[in-house]
């Protein structure tokens, strides 16, 4: 395993420290936590609903890169691929609350859901109103009753952006939770890997793909996908992902946002080529794209791969997406 680190145990702590130290005017680390929080005047003197997210490390810039005006109030990093702990989440909620309550944006993994749930109970004990929305945009896994349900992946950042902008504009907690849930229901993602990620504590790639293989439907923790196939041209991959996602939507009416997301080790060169193919395919299907984003937004450590997220836009979502955000990574 080749990584620029000091030791495996300190990865999350040193990463958060590096993030805060290179942005000292905008963020601080909450005491005794791996939580990054806003310190700008707008926040300090503000009275908006707080938005808190977090999760295991390894998906950077998610979530710390999205802390800032117009997105998150605070974000908590767990150990690599491990949910943050309730005490730290609780501290972030407490810091984010301005008397109007706090929205928790949680990716649908058992550890995250339960730890955020415990934090919510701690905060409610302090009379802070807390609502939780669970992001589950990965349609490469079935949404069956007898499983954990779909995973939360790249679509999370669109949920954070839309809710963040609405909160910035003064929306109340109940409406925000409703809005967030609607965005989640309208957001679908599929991932593709050319090679797996190396989890530092494990020391080797999570699974092996041959020199001429790729895998459709992977998750952001090396979860295997729905099909291993021969490596195909970008346009073929774009067709598969667009078709599968649009089939899940059922209809091509309305306006859509797209997110082409690099999974960590994928050069932007490949991401833009793939984005070109996605847009071509959507144009061919007469699907209206009102917002597009390309880049490493929600990664899987050093996975070489890409994901495509499509959100069907309603109401003001387009303007929420386009609204200015003062974060490091949006």
């Amino acid at each position: 395993m080749k990584k620029i680190i000091n030791n495996v145990e300190n990865i999350a702590a040193e990463m958060v420290s590096g993030f805060v130290k290179t942005n000292p005017a905008k963020f601080k680390q909450l005491p005794e936590t791996l939580a990054v929080a806003r310190v700008d005047d707008d926040f300090v003197n503000g009275t908006n609903v707080g938005i808190v997210s977090g999760g295991g490390s390894g998906h950077e810039p998610l979530h710390l890169g999205y802390v800032g005006k117009g997105m998150l109030s605070a974000a908590i990093a767990g150990q690599v691929n491990t949910s943050p702990t309730p005490d730290q989440i609780y501290k972030a909620i407490k810091y984010a609350d301005k008397g109007k309550g706090v929205l928790l944006i949680v990716k649908n993994y058992a550890g995250d859901v339960m730890n955020f749930d415990m934090a919510k109970e701690l905060a409610e004990f302090d009379d802070i109103t807390v609502k939780t929305i669970i992001v589950n945009d990965d349609i490469s896994v079935e949404d069956a009753e007898d499983t954990q349900g779909k995973r939360g992946v790249a679509g999370t950042v669109l949920v954070e952006k839309i809710c963040g902008a609405a909160a910035q504009n003064g929306m109340d907690l109940n409406s925000l939770a409703e809005l967030g849930q609607k965005v989640i229901d309208n957001t679908k993602t599929i991932g593709l890997a050319l090679s797996a990620a190396t989890v530092p504590a494990v020391g080797h790639p999570g699974f092996k793909l041959a020199e001429d293989e790729m895998e459709y439907g992977v998750g952001i923790h090396n979860e295997r996908g729905y099909a291993t196939e021969k490596l195909a041209p970008s346009a073929v991959i774009a067709n598969e992902l667009v078709n599968r996602i649009m089939k899940a939507f059922g209809s091509t009416n309305g306006e859509f946002a797209i997110l082409v997301n690099g999974l960590g080790a994928t050069p932007l060169m490949e991401q833009y080529i793939f984005a070109n193919d996605v847009v071509n395919k959507l144009n061919e299907l007469n699907i209206k794209i009102s917002f597009a984003k390309v880049g490493n937004m929600v990664t899987a450590i050093d996975m070489h791969g890409i994901s495509l997220t499509i959100t069907k836009l309603e109401n003001d979502w387009k303007s929420y997406l386009r609204q200015d955000a003062q974060t490091v990574a949006w």
Partner: protein
């Protein structure tokens, strides 16, 4: 039955030791159907418990449970941190409210974890150990072989909670890692009670 503060600490510390001895084995169980970190997660948590008990020296039962719960909850972070944390927090709360019967504490801990995980027996989780084990303990029927039997039964279950649930049918044939790590808690309890006799 009631367990003294001292015995309770002894019990928990024996569990801590069992986890330490079995880190790799637990990781391997989690590698088969999860993300391979259960041993590491729980060892981080239980070592923090050991340290906290040594430093804080809790003198009452509720404090022992609370110290244990907080150490687990604040150092693990995974699914198991929330679950074991919920169990011990429940035992802390009830014992603080005057409940002294260990049977009741354990049964209520089991119910609280079901609620936390929205899970029940048959889902291939730690509930498949806790639910029968706590009931057998209440009925004075808990034995090592009964515990082992509960653990083994998870092998042929299909997971429907947590990461392993994505594997659907492929989760069959592997023991659930938290059922296994929970089994050490009940084995440690039997040991402490046997010494008493």
């Amino acid at each position: 039955m009631e367990l003294s503060t001292e015995k309770t600490i002894d019990w928990i510390e024996r569990w801590v030791e069992y986890i330490k001895q079995n880190v790799t084995a637990l990781n391997e169980l989690d590698t088969a159907i999860g993300d391979g970190d259960h041993g590491t997660n729980l060892n981080r948590g239980t070592q923090a418990v050991k340290k906290a008990l040594a430093e804080e020296k809790p003198q009452t039962l509720p404090l022992v449970y609370r110290t244990t719960a907080m150490a687990l909850v604040s150092t693990i972070g995974g699914a198991s941190g929330a679950l074991f944390g919920t169990a011990f927090l429940t035992m802390a709360r009830l014992s603080k409210d005057g409940e002294t019967k260990l049977e009741t504490l354990l049964l209520e801990a089991n119910e609280a974890m079901k609620k936390r995980g929205k899970s029940d027996v048959g889902m291939k989780t730690l509930i498949d150990l806790w639910d029968p084990a706590t009931k057998a303990f209440r009925d004075h029927k808990l034995t090592r072989s009964y515990i082992q039997n509960c653990v083994d039964k998870t092998k042929n279950m299909k997971a429907s909670k947590g990461r392993s649930s994505y594997l659907r049918e492929r989760s069959i044939g592997h023991i659930d890692p938290v059922a296994k790590s929970s089994s050490y808690l009940f084995i440690a309890l039997l040991e402490v009670l046997e010494e008493d006799k």
